[in-house]
Symmetry: C2
């Protein structure tokens, strides 16, 4: 064990976040289907910023006040009262370039708020479309890391844990890891990495999205490595792309 | 999907138990290292009953009042004030036959109390040494199942999840499973099932037990299928062997 390496933990549900010392760590918010994939897509396509908010009325109010795009979902569907949802494919360069996206989602924006409340040192968002940028940032920062899986209403989900496993697969050796969740995540990822899209029908969330809403294209984007190579960093109420 | 099959869920931390409907289910308490392995060993070796309690003073008090064996651990060691700990190998037939074991442990007995508080329909305890008996009971009961992993101070651990995976590997097809935790558990188990003892050094708890206390024989017992083929069922404050 090399004590000079920073530590890395995987938190597999927001309901377990209190077990980790967020205040001295970079916290990676992971909500693969679809919030953090959508954030990456919007920022990569030129959005000035993404403002994560915790309610639909707040999204509408802030969207109006700054001439931004208010958007969000509840239970996988465009939230009532909004015209735009949580599909990464909605946020093309033509639509979102130069604008601000005000986004509310079921799980990801809630976990981000929890990380703020617990005084995370740094907050970034991670998804397969920006995997390499996330790994590069974590290596360069030299700080301890919490990979925070948003899950589904506090339940464990496979897709967020697979992304945590992808990060560990790439850069785990540069960290001190004494964490069964991290070991599980990287084992699962190595089992499935050669065909994530083929594995997708095993995920409960896949059925929520595909069977009910037909969002197979969204899922394919959300499982494509480095399709939106941007680093979303949270600063003063906004995620901005670096 | 066959709706006539009962459901099965895996709860990977006591801190997530509120997400599951325990009241209509058989709840399997899983604390592989070592509470539920020790319970199986004691009952298989003729203990009249195991009384799980949540504190050392209560273990001592009840132990005295019924002429039982008060035992337990805190953080992996024999708890202060007790002469007997949480090693399954302590509870030989000569020692425990015909007697009552009053046991307090860090994680397993706490989860059992939580299942009681949430009015579980039926509570049994499970471990590799009594895997087949647990599976046979779950199949025969025809009820929904919660596989409850005790974890380590609310953190996920691999060994309890591997046991949940072993149950699902054996009998999962007889249940309706829409639960990413269950899918993860069975995938992990199938990856490791051919050499659980060889995998053990990957577990954080292995290091807690072996590096600090030298309990390699305990770990081998706890990972041996059907070494103590008994079914511990909770009734009126006691686990009794069937």
């Amino acid at each position: 064990m090399n004590q000079s390496k920073p530590s890395l933990f995987t938190c597999i549900s927001p309901a377990l976040l209190h077990l980790y010392d967020v205040s001295n760590s970079v916290m990676v918010i992971i909500d693969v289907f679809r919030a953090t994939s959508t954030i990456a897509a919007a920022l990569h396509n030129g959005a000035k910023a993404v403002i994560p908010v915790d309610s639909v009325p707040k999204a509408i109010e802030i969207g109006k006040s700054i001439d931004g795009i208010a958007a969000g979902e509840r239970d996988g569907m465009i939230a009532e009262g909004l015209q735009h949802g949580n599909s990464p494919l909605e946020y093309t360069r033509d639509f979102i370039g130069g604008r601000v996206l005000v986004l509310t989602t079921t799980n990801g924006t809630r976990l981000l708020q929890m990380a703020l409340d617990r005084n995370a040192d740094t907050i970034i968002s991670g998804s397969f479309p920006n995997l390499t940028r996330v790994c590069d940032f974590l290596l360069a920062s030299g700080k301890s890391v919490i990979l925070g899986c948003a899950g589904w209403k506090d339940r464990f989900n496979l897709e967020d844990t697979l992304f945590a496993g992808a990060v560990i697969d790439r850069i785990g050796e540069q960290f001190t890891i004494h964490c069964d969740s991290s070991r599980m995540a990287v084992d699962l990822y190595r089992q499935q990495k050669h065909d994530l899209i083929g594995f997708a029908p095993q995920l409960t969330h896949y059925h929520r999205l595909v069977s009910r809403f037909g969002l197979i294209k969204d899922i394919e984007f959300c499982l494509t490595m480095d399709a939106a190579p941007v680093l979303p960093v949270y600063r003063e109420g906004k995620l901005v792309g670096e």
